[in-house]
């Protein structure tokens, strides 16, 4: 970083694209600056990995059966699974001040809101750990005749779910039908038909071509072959040229993976569309969501924790295998003191890129597959408003997307609240993925923007659809995620690196969404439960798998 500071127009162009910049620069009236705060802190703590003090040699270590490193969804799912088998001799070490990882949530005077992941596609079948957790949560009310689960109406995303802003108007849904040519519509219909076919596709062993979790998908090359090409290439090859269709598909890639059509594996992009539907016509299973987003699921998993098991603001800097277990060195940032543990088993539930800094074996010999894991940075901003904005055209929806912005738009956190009235104070959660091809450069770009820059970016992005926003906005909080999501670039999900990364290292088992190649709740939970069950088996448990 030299002393380069972009001016306002450059900043807007760089982050949001020229359409937003042009419109922002046409606006002449000035507005008061909004109170803005950057709320993430883990960046600094995390980067102290190599400097932290170690426990003095010979200090007695705390003995524990299982040490779980990381209290994101994978780590908590492991704890949840272990608790389900009666295993409570567990310590969980979390770097952040809050558990939940990228599914964590917050509470503002205007209500609860997500800080990251904010919905769960409703599971198609009445089985597996996701349904088990949802049952605990009271989200499942039974099953229909075909064995598909039914969900509590108040937790299913309520209508209207999506709207799209384009040239001064909001339109229902995310596909831009307004002004679409017959060719656009025909390609859209053909694409949906393709997806239905793929959703129905089964291999010789009866496995879905595209299943959640990825692990249950067919490995038949008929489909996994598409993992080696980008979604852009896949669409080119099939004559999907409609800019509106490509925008719509890319929006899905940006939203779920932080990638573009060019950097998303075609298999993964198709998985996004095909794995969440059963292929029976247009039936829409919907999404499950809560005002605090997936924070609700985190809270449910965290109920498995016993007092004292979870230690927050603890930086684990070394895990080494010794006779009969592992020694864990960590730094308790809250108490400013080193701590040492001895655990018979370790579940490493942090993101893959941190492991070579922590695991002693990998510090000595860095495995080559690690470098296949790359992460996209994200920014999530919560904008508190006195009153939800409206805008011309289709009314306020849950997800409000801007066609010509590089942001993902915003979600209305209180959309799901059970009340008759939708006015009053609200929180709008604005999402911004860094989709550039070089994640490291993107992280630098992210860190270069100041709180004031983020204020400019969020407000200017939303001022086009909502010129009244300065009168409504109360405050802005910004969370920067340096390594938010693993990027499912071509060749990653079905390549050799991911398969190698799943294998345990001695007594250390791995659990994280990035092991599925896709950062979604189901993958994180799957790998957390899988790692816990591997340890249960090593301990001689006869527990039936929850997977």
């Amino acid at each position: 970083m030299s002393g380069f500071r972009p001016d306002r127009r450059e900043l807007l162009t760089l982050f949001l694209g020229s359409a937003v910049a042009a419109s922002a620069c046409r606006r002449t009236s000035s507005r008061p600056r909004l109170e803005t705060r950057i709320v993430d802190a883990a960046v600094d703590v995390g980067h102290r990995l190599r400097e932290a003090a170690r426990p003095a040699p010979g200090t007695p270590r705390e003995q524990v059966g299982v040490c779980v490193v990381g209290a994101g969804v994978a780590g908590l799912s492991a704890v949840w699974r272990l608790a389900g088998a009666g295993v409570h001799d567990v310590a969980v070490l979390e770097l952040d001040a809050r558990e939940g990882g990228t599914s964590q949530s917050g509470q503002s005077p205007n209500g609860a809101h997500p800080w990251g992941a904010h919905y769960l596609p409703a599971p198609l079948e009445h089985r597996g750990p996701v349904v088990r957790l949802l049952e605990e949560l009271g989200a499942v009310t039974g099953a229909d005749g075909a064995g598909r689960p039914r969900f509590s109406e108040q937790m299913v995303l309520r209508a209207p779910d999506e709207r799209l802003f384009y040239r001064g108007h909001w339109y229902e849904g995310l596909f831009l039908h307004a002004g679409a040519s017959a060719g656009d519509e025909a390609q859209f219909a053909r694409f949906l038909a393709d997806i239905r076919t793929l959703a129905r596709a089964r291999d010789a062993r009866g496995r879905r071509a595209f299943a959640v979790p990825v692990e249950e998908s067919s490995d038949d090359a008929e489909w996994t072959g598409w993992d080696r090409q980008s979604m852009a290439d896949w669409m080119d090859a099939r004559g999907y040229t409609s800019p509106r269709l490509r925008w719509w598909v890319e929006y899905g890639c940006r939203d779920d993976f932080g990638c573009t059509l060019e950097t998303t594996s075609a298999w993964v992009a198709l998985w996004y569309f095909a794995s969440r539907q059963d292929g029976e016509g247009e039936r829409h299973q919907g999404y499950l969501t809560w005002p605090e987003g997936n924070g609700r699921l985190v809270a449910q998993l965290a109920r498995a924790l016993r007092p004292g098991q979870l230690r927050r603001k603890v930086l684990v800097h070394s895990v080494r295998e010794v006779e009969g277990g592992c020694e864990i060195d960590a730094w308790d940032a809250a108490a400013s003191r080193p701590i040492g543990l001895f655990a018979r088993h370790v579940i490493y539930a942090g993101p893959r890129f941190t492991a070579p800094h922590v695991l002693e074996a990998w510090r000595k010999a860095r495995p080559s597959f690690i470098d296949a894991f790359t992460q996209a940075p994200w920014v999530v901003a919560n904008l508190s408003v006195r009153w939800p904005p409206a805008g011309r055209g289709f009314p306020l929806a849950w997800d409000n997307v801007l066609y010509d912005s590089k942001s993902l738009g915003y979600v209305v956190a209180g959309h799901q609240l059970e009340r008759q009235w939708d006015g009053g104070p609200q929180v709008l959660t604005w999402y911004y993925p860094f989709t550039g091809a070089d994640p490291k450069a993107e992280r630098t770009r992210m860190l270069s923007a100041t709180a004031e820059d983020w204020e400019t970016l969020v407000m200017e992005d939303l001022l086009r659809p909502h010129p009244e926003l300065p009168q409504l906005a109360q405050r802005l909080e910004v969370m920067r995620w340096g390594h938010a999501m693993v990027r499912p670039v071509p060749g990653f999900v079905w390549g050799p690196s991911r398969a190698q990364a799943v294998r345990p290292l001695g007594r250390v088992h791995f659990a994280h969404a990035d092991l599925g190649g896709i950062n979604v709740f189901e993958e994180a939970q799957y790998h957390g439960v899988r790692a816990a069950e591997a340890i249960l088996r090593e301990q001689g448990s006869q527990a039936v798998s929850w997977l």
Partner: protein, 515 residues
Amino acid sequence: MQAATGEATAEGAETPVLRHTALFVAVLIIATCGLIYELLAGTLASYLLGDTITQFSTVIGVYLFSMGVGSWLSRFVERHVPRRFVQVELAVALVGGALAPILFLTFTFTDAFRLILYGSVFVIGALVGLEIPLLLRILKDTVRFKDLVGQVLAVDYLGALAASLLFPLLLVPHLGLVRTSLFFGILNAVVGLWITWVLAPVLKQVTGLRLQALGIIGVLGFGMIFADRLTDLSEEAIYPDPVVYTKASPYQRIVVTRSARSLNLFINGNLQFSSMDEHRYHEALVHPVAMRAEKLSQVLVLGGGDGLAVRELLRYPEVERVVLVDLDPAMTELATQMKPLADLNRASLSDPRVEVRNEDAFAYLRDATETFDLVIVDFPDPNNFSLGKLYTTRFYRLLKARLAPHGVGVVQSTSPLLARKSFWCVNATLQAVGLWTEPYHALVPSFGEWGYVLIAHAHPPLHREMPDGLRFLTPELLPTLTVFPADMGPVPVEVNRLDNQILVHYYEDEWGRWN
């Protein structure tokens, strides 16, 4: 005029020279203002009380009579004539300017409308009656008497002509009554202020008068701003009858209009009731279901903040308690405090048996634990996604849980004729949560053919007779309400859930065609 001026200059050795041309212009404006006030009073009275001929006759009669009184009173003004003239101008400005706003407020919140009406007309008439004699006395030394009388009366009548043309063609359509009143009050006061310069040579102290004039302009100007906040012009143009009350609460915009024959309440531009036929709507809403209730001790009303459904409920002596849940305190306060509305609902919301809760109905149902013998659901039509939530399976499940085992309920469910799919969608949605339903309808002319769905856990038998004093329902009519003509009969529909809000789409499609 020039000749007269010259004459005045020639004669004006002792009396100060007055620019009487300017005074004649002032008289023209003042005369216009005077007649405008008279027309305003007549129009308002005929709007609000009906019977145009009577109202205009009595207003004009009182006005002319009081002008005579004013002229007669002018003889008691002996000293400081120019000063008194300016003060009369300012007084007319204040009373005339505030006329329409005061009359609207009086009509809405008191019984004293006629008293204030004729009192104001009398005061304005008397003050206007004072004007000409005083002016003549001011100018008598400046202008020759035969010219003076002719010129003053000519401009006076010219002003009347201007007013009578401006009022119906320009002012009422474009400014509305309240703004017209305030505008001419301000104009009147500005003229009064201007005259302090014209009459400066004969006025001793002008500062006090000018401050008074500015004060009046300020008060009326404030009223103008306030009027803008209360109503906007486009809104007044939407409603067929004069708007007598508007309130923008955080939740909705409430407008009450009044004509000679009816009182109408609108929420966000949609008619909620007209006093012409609301008895049809509310009798059909309440009595068919109340007659099927095994017990009537505990009643829940959701919506219905106008108190009209509660009025019907209170006909039953068995009713011990009515819980009325309406989100908007502005609505229930209006129904309690606005005189014509409280008359219409027979002060039902002030009845000790009625407990008004200004709460969110969704949250109330979710958190409530008691059950009710009778539940009446009287929400506005599902014309947006917020209201649509109140017609979903989720909402009806919560509702069902509040229904006592023997309990019954009714849901207002829009028009089966104009919004056929919407109506049957409400019925299907209620059935989808396991309720027994009986759809029925009644003709409410200001709405059209209107639909209701009676609900219970199981088919409820008849438990009581229809109360006395109903104007619409009769025992003979009752069984016919469940008969649907062919063009209103059931159609295949989807169930309305939170995650599809299909009802809002049906409603949008259906009403879109008819509007």
